[in-house]
Amino acid sequence: MTVLAPTDLDGALAALAERPDATVLAGGTDLMVELNFGHRRAGVFVSLRRVRELREWSRVGDELTIGATVTYTGLERGQIATLVPALAQAARTVGSPQIRNAGTIGGNLATASPAGDTLPVLSALDAVVVCASASAGRREVSVHDFLVGPKRSALAAGELVVAVRVPVLSGPQEFLKVGTRNAMVISIAGVALVTDAARGGLRCALGSVGPTALRAADAESFAATAVEWPSRRATPEAAIEFGRLTAGAARPIDDHRATAHYRRHAVEVCARRAFERVTLR
């Protein structure tokens, strides 16, 4: 096994181009578990720990560009948390403080687990994933196209997630997750809700109840008319209907963590609550 530790992005891309068999190593919170458990063979690893460009974030106008190795701790704190509150809320639910100090948003995207907690938020925000490779250069992929299926992303061989771009919206946001206990759990169901007061609507995506993050399109169109914009007033009945429609978008399965029935119920409750929190009576 060999670990390469490039110090800049070009170095990282060159290392990946030279060693097409190499695996990218960011925070290691997914990869090292696989390695320690013998689920992955040791080979060539390209560690991103020292690549400064990937750890940074910036704001241009109403858009944030968040570097791939920004950690959950980085998302929970400071300005990102005020600009994209749902992302911070999702980050806060990940693992434990020590996991959040290491795990990165790029790793969550590249792992593309159906239970990746930032993924429904990125889906609701219509985020754009910036990818790069030495041979093909940069390209931008909508998060909806990036997440192909369970543990499958649109990343090509030798390609890195460089950053993710998200809009700064006006209006409240929520992320709610259900797990088997309060901390350190893989989610059984997750709901991300972001309001876009300027465009008069809200966007809702679900985690852990489908092969990838799913959008609740029917619930979104319902909210466009059932909520009064821009005042965000809505009736209690609208919240109930919103929960029901959102649950209709879920495509859950039974597994050792929960039944499909329970997951759908959890989505309904979380969606209703999130709706109540982002609207006014």
Binding site: V3, G28, S96, P97
Partner: protein
């Protein structure tokens, strides 16, 4: 397997060595540097026994490769006290409040609590439980540990007053 050279600062001391790329930081600290205070429980990121400070942040040393820590500054339980043979405030508090029984989980708790209290010096019970959510203890039932964190905040305040 290829050996790679690394140079890290551990508990203030510059250490150089060669290690297999596959070696985790936890194993490197224990086997190469004989710092066996860092415990290895699950190698899964879950139990927290292996927590060390990597450039000041609490992380799982079982999920970091030693070569990834090249150039970094590491603090282990052996370096948490003010000097060899003297206890730091968090260690003192764990002793006073029965925050440990068998002691297997203790290094991870003490290192974690030390870093969390630096960021949040006066946590509530709920905040303490949240900060300890990544450390598992099979013995104490956590009551003594929560009490120890409160006591540690007092000891730190007294020391800085």
């Amino acid at each position: 397997m290829t050996d790679q050279a690394i140079a890290i600062t551990v508990n203030g001391e510059r250490r150089k060595g060669r290690t297999e790329a596959r070696t985790t930081l936890a194993d490197f600290l224990r086997d190469e540097l004989a710092l066996t205070g860092t415990h290895v429980g699950c190698e899964h990121g879950v139990c927290g026994a292996c927590t060390v400070l990597l450039d000041g942040e609490a992380v799982r040393s079982c999920l970091v490769l030693a070569v990834q820590a090249d150039g970094a500054d590491i603090t282990t339980i052996e370096g948490i006290g003010p000097e060899p043979g003297r206890l730091g405030p968090v260690q003192q508090a764990f002793m006073e409040c029965h925050g440990l029984q068998c002691g297997f989980c203790t290094p991870g708790f003490v290192v974690s609590v030390t870093s969390f209290l630096a960021e949040q010096p006066a946590p509530t019970d709920d905040e303490i439980r949240e900060m300890l959510s990544g450390n598992i203890c099979r013995c104490t039932g956590y009551q003594g540990i929560v009490a120890a964190v409160h006591r540690a905040t007092e000891l730190i305040e007294e020391a800085t007053a």
